[in-house]
């Protein structure tokens, strides 16, 4: 067997990505990256409530333009946040994604950051629309993301 650039798990998620597509009547949509850079990720969330009345990620779907790693990390991110309370889901880190995938080539690590950011932007969008009080950390992340995106415009 030839030594491959990507781990088996990356290829598995890339070949059969989980939760791709749109959610009709979504509650939040996060868009990060752009086609100029070569990676663009759209993340849709539908919010529900658990037995305790806490808000959870009832459904999540993604649409990604990008390389193998971008598609695989999008797929894993949706697995990791689905069913979690929003609070818990926001704690998912890029390392959690990499752990599921076994490993990512160093040059592709930024793809996992993109997935995390897309999710955090989707929650930001949901909170903004619902005019909920914005957690400080989420606002900060949003500012970092939009600043970075602006820098990427060629």
């Amino acid at each position: 067997m030839a030594k491959s650039f990507y781990s088996k798990e990356v290829i598995k998620h890339f070949q059969k990505p989980h939760n791709y597509g749109k959610i009709k009547g979504y509650d939040g949509l996060g868009k990060v990256g752009n086609m100029i850079c070569g990676d663009e990720m759209w993340l849709y969330i539908k919010v529900g409530k658990d037995k305790k009345g806490e808000e959870i990620i009832k459904d999540v779907k993604f649409e990604t333009f990008g390389c193998v790693a971008a598609i695989a990390t999008s797929s894993v991110l949706t697995d990791l946040v689905k069913g979690k309370t929003i609070k818990e889901a926001l704690k998912v880190k890029k390392d959690d994604i990499v752990k599921v995938l076994g490993e990512l080539p160093p040059i592709k690590l930024h793809c996992s950051v993109l997935a995390i950011d897309a999710f955090s932007e989707a929650v930001y969008d949901y909170y903004s629309k619902k005019k909920k009080e914005m957690p400080k950390s989420l606002e900060e992340r949003h500012q970092i993301i939009i600043k970075r995106e602006a820098n990427h415009e060629h």
């Binding site: 990507y6 290829i11 890339f14 070949q15 990505p17 791709y20 597509g21 868009k31 086609m35 100029i36 850079c37 070569g38 990676d39 663009e40 990720m41 759209w42 649409e63 990604t64 333009f65 990008g66 390389c67 193998v68 790693a69 971008a70 598609i71 040059i107 060629h154």
Partner: protein, 388 residues
């Protein structure tokens, strides 16, 4: 085991079994150093002379105008740097095409750091150089023009005979990197007024680790490697006879089969191009439709990314290549496609299919059968869809 289809012959080729056979006596029995004066040395020297004659003949050069090197990268480095340093009294201006292989572009960048004046030519949307631009940009202190014969990514064949003519009239050396074209399309260094030419064994069914540089008699060029004075002092190192024998055999075969093979590949090439553009919406051809290598197809698809296409096809047993940003170590899109005026988002979805001696119509049909589904699968995942 799944059948694997190799469609990346522009990256490298397998060695033709006839070449392996020609090489085999030189691994053990005829192992001598051609510089030695005894029987073993003579045996090796004879093989070396014969190989040099074959390769020189294939491009209408004289045998003593061929020097053997270890790679096309080395040949290109030697040509550019060697000419620059040997002619710096005349001037420091060098003209280079923007779509050259990295070994030319990075040599040029290094020369710039040494104080040389590097100027880039431009290409049109097909990747073609305009010879008139070369004429206009040549100055009194221009010492060298380097334009590749055929581009490795998009397959466009440059008007090197016209460029050579202009350079000769102006008294400027002309180098062409023919790594992708030698053995595939006819080359005549005399008729084309070429002063230096790079050719590579591993792109034409010969072994890796050997290439050559044609240096026209009288061209002033410093060597890159100093040592025992092999290759007329232009490239010191013990001569790699076994690989050179293989290289020569590979050239001999390519030359004998060129006409027929080229017709066969052009038919397959045009079938792929025609079918892809017809069957897959929002797909476009990169490079020139006619002035292109017989074995090269380069197409781009909107809304999807090249590396993803490559891996989808790899899973289906098809090996191709992409120059998308995501697949490059620098995460930058291909400098060739950028020079041709493509936008970043257009360059990302490019795919290179390069065929060769063992590509069959059945292989091509399999590619054409699975490619539309591969593209639409990725487009389904992409946030950008075809509208209308």
């Amino acid at each position: 085991m799944k059948k694997r289809i190799y469609l990346d012959y522009a990256a490298t080729t397998s060695i033709d079994p006839r070449v392996v056979k020609a090489m085999s006596p030189y691994f053990t029995g005829k192992f001598g150093n051609p510089a030695s004066l005894h029987y073993f040395g003579n045996e090796a020297a004879e093989a070396l002379d014969k190989s040099r004659e074959v390769i020189a003949g294939a491009m209408n050069a004289d045998p003593d105008e061929i020097i053997f090197t270890s790679s096309a990268t080395e040949s290109n480095n030697t040509a550019i740097k060697g000419v620059a340093f040997a002619n710096k009294e005349k001037g420091k201006h060098i003209l280079v095409s923007p779509i050259e292989h990295d070994c030319i572009l990075n040599s040029a960048l290094w020369l710039k750091k040494q104080g040389f004046d590097i100027e880039y030519l431009s290409v049109d949307g097909y990747g073609l150089i305009d010879p008139e631009e070369v004429r206009m940009k040549i100055r009194k202190d221009t010492i060298l023009v380097s334009v590749m014969h055929a581009n490795n990514e998009v397959g466009t064949i440059e008007p090197i005979a016209e460029i050579g003519k202009i350079c000769r009239e102006k008294g400027v050396y002309f180098h062409t990197d023919a790594a992708q074209s030698f053995g595939k399309v006819p080359i005549d260094v005399k008729k084309m007024n070429i002063d230096l030419l790079t050719a590579s064994s591993q792109k034409m069914y010969g072994p890796k680790g050997v290439a050559c540089l044609y240096v026209r008699k009288g061209v002033r060029m410093e060597p890159l490697l100093h040592g025992g004075g092999q290759e007329s002092g232009k490239r010191s190192s013990t001569v790699n006879v076994v690989s050179i024998v293989g290289f020569a055999k590979a050239v001999e075969i390519c030359l004998a089969e060129m006409g027929k093979e080229s017709k066969r590949l052009i038919k397959l090439r045009d079938k792929i191009i025609k079918t892809v553009l017809k069957k897959i919406p929002d797909s476009y051809l990169n490079g020139h439709p006619k002035d292109r290598l017989p074995n090269n197809v380069n197409v781009r698809f909107s809304f999807v990314e090249g590396e993803s296409i490559l891996f989808q096809l790899d899973a289906l047993g098809i090996a191709v290549s992409t120059a998308s940003a995501c697949s490059s170590p620098k995460l930058e899109p291909s400098h060739v496609l950028m020079a041709m005026g493509l936008k970043h988002e257009e360059a990302h979805g490019s795919l290179r299919v390069s065929m060769g001696r063992w590509t069959t119509e059945k292989d091509v049909d399999y590619l054409l059968k699975v490619l539309p589904g591969t593209i639409s699968k990725l487009r389904e995942i992409s946030p950008h869809k075809i509208h209308g």
